[in-house]
């Protein structure tokens, strides 16, 4: 009973936040609504005994990614309300709504049709249960997925270098083209 109540409250929080992200006119409001959705997801993670992932979700998403969004919004000064006349092509909005309705119908129909989606197969990476999810996750991460884990470190280095190269102002190009802006 309590589980049901928690699920419903967290689901309402998630969906409200998601709709807020899409429909808010001001990008700052969108970012704050995103925080609301992320907290709802973290509650769902706790309800499914993924305690470590819930903590990481709050720290990484709400603590780092959304702060990065807000930082860029304030840096660029685009925090004014925007016209919500969203689509450039007149058909675009209706096509998007058609896409949403169609895909929602298909996915929900599939989930209901399949019914119980569990195959009953045995777990490969160690059984879950209790409060040991962090230990199991670490064991899985550093044994079965260790190469993928090393590759993510490479990915992060590439992302950092890429961001620095993208945002750097090209001083030499500015001097040559006399303030033409360079190639950004």
């Amino acid at each position: 009973m309590v589980d049901t109540l928690i699920f419903i409250v967290a689901a309402v929080i998630c969906v409200t936040g998601a709709l807020g992200v899409v429909l808010a006119r001001n990008p700052v409001h969108s970012a704050l609504m995103l925080v609301m959705t992320l907290f709802g997801i973290a509650v769902q993670f706790v309800a499914q005994e993924a305690h470590f992932l819930a903590a990481v979700q709050v720290i990484v998403y709400a603590g780092a990614i959304v702060v990065l969004f807000l930082f860029v919004i304030m840096l660029l000064g685009v925090d004014r309300a925007q016209n919500l006349e969203m689509s450039f092509l007149p058909i675009q909005k209706w096509a998007a709504l058609l896409f949403a309705a169609g895909s929602l119908t298909i996915v929900v129909a599939l989930i209901i049709m399949v019914g119980e989606p569990v195959t009953g197969a045995e777990a490969m990476g160690g059984a879950l249960g209790g409060t040991e999810d962090a230990r199991l996750l670490a064991r899985s991460l550093f044994s079965d997925y260790v190469y993928a884990f090393e590759l993510t470190s490479l990915l992060l280095v590439i992302a950092v270098i890429g961001a620095v190269v993208l945002v750097r102002k090209p001083k030499v190009a500015d001097a040559v083209t006399a303030g033409d802006g360079g190639d950004g």
């Binding site: 049901t4 699920f7 998630c14 969906v15 998601a18 992200v21 899409v22 990008p27 969108s30 970012a31 995103l34 959705t37 992320l38 997801i41 769902q44 499914q48 005994e49 993924a50 470590f52 992932l53 990484v60 998403y61 990614i65 990065l68 969004f69 860029v72 919004i73 660029l76 685009v78 969203m86 689509s87 909005k93 096509a95 709504l97 896409f99 949403a100 895909s103 996915v107 929900v108 989930i111 989606p117 197969a121 777990a123 990476g125 160690g126 059984a127 879950l128 199991l136 996750l137 064991r139 991460l141 079965d144 997925y145 993928a148 993510t152 590439i158 992302a159 993208l166 945002v167 950004g184």
Partner: protein, 101 residues
């Protein structure tokens, strides 16, 4: 009423589709990136639901990798947005059509 895996999957699908629709109809590049985050979170919820139902920690490991990739994606995406908006203040996704033939 008992909450089964299907409910979590429906919620994940709902978040994914709201995010996808937002990505299609919004023109502000920052809001579009936030919609991508919504889609990733919907998928994460499905992974955790399956992980719990199957009793396999592999789903949670995948969610961990998705978090890392999302962080990298946001860093590069916001770098691109800053570079674009510095050249062309107030640009929307529709203004970036320079490569159109």
């Amino acid at each position: 009423m008992e909450i089964t895996t299907g409910w979590y999957l429906v919620l994940g699908a709902l978040l994914f589709i709201i995010g996808g629709t937002g990505l299609l109809i919004r023109r502000n590049p920052l809001v579009m990136l936030m919609c991508v985050e919504l889609m990733l979170n919907g998928v994460n919820l499905s992974f955790v639901a399956f992980s719990r139902t199957l009793g396999d920690v592999g789903g949670q490991t995948v969610v961990f990798f998705v978090l890392v990739v999302a962080a990298a994606e946001v860093v590069v995406g916001l770098g691109l947005v800053v570079a674009i908006l510095r050249r062309q203040p107030g640009a929307t996704a529709d203004d970036l059509s320079l490569l159109k033939g």
